[in-house]
Amino acid sequence: MKKTKTSYLLKGTPSILLVLGAGFVMASSADIRAALGMGAAVLVSMLLSSFVISLIHKKMPAYAKLPAYLLIITGFVSLISMFMQAHFHTVVDMLGVHLATLSVSAVIFRDAEEVADHFGKRYCAKTALVTGVFLTVIMAVCAVIREILGNATFWGKPIAFLEPYKISALVGAVGGYIVLAIVMAVINKITGLHHHLDENENKEDECK
């Protein structure tokens, strides 16, 4: 399959198309505050690490790229984590270990390894921005559904009339994946992104 800028940009919307990062989407979408916190962390770490990687990728031999990229991503995630612990410690408590595991997330690594490595800093910044914003939106949508229906709260505030009707399973891991699957299905149906991508790739293959 030929890799084009279009396919990278469109495919760079994890948890809709590639189901990359589904684990931390599930883990971070039980509460809207956690979802927005994780979204911001992903966005910033992706922007910064993609930018730095695009600067050095030509000077790095292939065998040294993996450790170097991991160092950079881990470094930025650690810095972001320290900042969040100081100013958003409630969100960090909610995210727990999932914030730290962002360092080895396939979402950020894909951006760094494929996009920044291939297309330079201007394009990688655009991809990181699109990926981060879409991921945040997906997590926020999942979080609104899970927090309201699963926990009978919004932004941590109780919604008294929903308390007797809450579906606690939605707050757990299985509920998280179920909600994510439903959101993915709805978005794919509305936007037809998968269909559009498949068509593009078929055309590209035919041209080859």
Binding site: K59, I72, G75, S78, L79, M82, A86
Partner: protein, 413 residues
């Protein structure tokens, strides 16, 4: 070669850059994170000491606090203390956080760890507010006797710890009262009596009918006198030493305070019901150091047996009369239980209802489990799911019966 050097330099630069960045960021975020963490910890402490502000943790090793105290925090403005206390409820690992205000009153309490099956602890949270060491009275909730007792013990330990961290000393009365479970385990769940006379400053009656305990002052000293229902009296000093012989007057005053109970008739009736030809039922004097209260030997046919009697408590303070009959070889011939006490366990485990009727097959089958057991073969097999508290009490009574049997036989089983 050049490529390797460049790669190494880049990797080194990355490491140095992030190392420096983290160091610099930590200078800014470190104090904020520390403050956040302290605030979160203080929040937990404020739940049980709402009037508090900032707290500092005390070094409990230096203060000589009871072993049950796991953590102690002092409110920096002198508004009180917060203790984390380990206790034993239904399971061994109950931890209760207790706030004590500057006047020594309980300001709040919260169970923060437990493994009670029925999760009854929240019902006890904050129920002790306002109590002091002097006015301490256990709070009991139905269907959770062991949990209630464990929670009450934790509160009592916290009140004692407050006295110690405040620079005071525990009064002899408090120390002697604290000795009771250790020196007289047969005096189960002592209940304070209101009317005391003479040199008696405090009096307690065992809820299982095993006897009484008295704090008696004699000159400048105080003693703990334990009077078993059988009429045996033992006197202990504040160190827990048996000083009965040297304090005959104290023992006499304790013995005169209440009537004794003769268990021989109860035991004889239970024996005759199972051993129709039982003869020569003779009481044996035993040193009461466990739940076993009374022992007798008797003959049935050509054989001599030993009957050891216990009266443990189970759910909702119901007492069980248990006689363990052991042969000369140290094996159980018959386990006789007059009545089992299950309390709310009956509601949760319908099958347990069979046990209530001593003539029911399930009850008979349960008792048969004991036949032939020796001290070495007694195991958790005698426990019944859904009636753990009652059957644990039976197991303890059986274990204590073997101990008494060994002492009767001079340690030679």
């Amino acid at each position: 070669m050049k490529k390797i050097l460049v790669t190494t330099a880049i990797l080194l630069a990355i490491v140095l850059f992030f190392g420096a960045a983290m160091y610099a960021l930590n200078l800014y975020t470190g104090p904020i994170i520390e403050k956040n963490n302290a605030g979160a910890a203080a929040g937990e402490l404020l739940e049980v000491l709402p009037e508090g502000g900032a707290f500092e943790e005390l070094n409990i090793a230096e203060l000589g606090l009871p072993e049950a105290i796991l953590k102690a925090h002092k409110e920096t403005a002198g508004k009180g203390f917060v203790f984390e206390v380990k206790s034993a409820g239904y399971g061994p690992d109950m931890i209760v956080r207790v706030g004590v205000d500057a006047e020594g009153k309980i300001a709040g309490s919260k169970c923060i760890q437990t493994n009670d099956t029925f999760k009854k602890e929240p019902e006890l949270d904050n129920k002790y507010n306002g109590q002091t060491l002097e006015t301490f009275a256990p709070v009991l909730i139905g269907g959770a006797t062991m949990t209630s007792n464990g929670y009450g013990d934790a509160i009592n330990f916290a009140l004692q710890a407050f006295v110690l961290v405040s620079g005071g000393e525990l009064s002899d009365d408090v120390v002697l009262e604290g000795l009771l479970p250790t020196v007289a385990p047969a005096i189960v769940k002592p209940v304070a009596l209101e009317n005391v006379t003479g040199n008696i400053t405090k009096a307690f009656k065992a809820a299982n009918g095993a006897g009484y305990a008295y704090i008696i002052s004699a000159g400048e000293s105080s003693y703990l006198a334990v009077v078993y229902a059988t009429g045996v009296c033992k006197v202990y000093d504040v160190e827990g030493n048996d000083v009965t012989e040297a304090n005959a007057a104290v023992a006499d005053e304790a013995l005169a305070a209440n009537e004794t109970v003769d268990f021989s008739e109860t035991v004889a009736a239970m024996l005759v019901a199972k051993f129709a030809d039982a003869t020569e039922i003779t009481a044996i004097e035993i040193d009461i150091t466990s739940s076993a209260l009374y022992a007798a030997s008797f003959k049935s046919g050509e054989n001599t047996y030993y009957a050891i009697y216990s009266r443990p408590l189970s759910y909702e303070d119901s007492a069980m009369d248990i006689v363990t009959v052991i042969d000369e070889n140290g094996a159980i011939v018959k386990q006789i239980i007059k009545q089992m006490a299950f309390g709310h366990g009956v509601e949760y485990m319908p099958g347990i209802k069979d046990f209530i009727d001593p003539s029911a097959p399930a009850f008979g089958a349960y008792l048969d489990k004991f036949t032939g057991l020796t001290e070495g073969t007694l195991s958790d097999d005698v426990l019944v799911t859904g009636a753990t508290v009652s059957t644990s009490a039976v197991k303890t009574a059986t274990k204590d019966a073997f101990t008494v049997f060994n002492s009767i036989k001079g340690g030679n089983n």
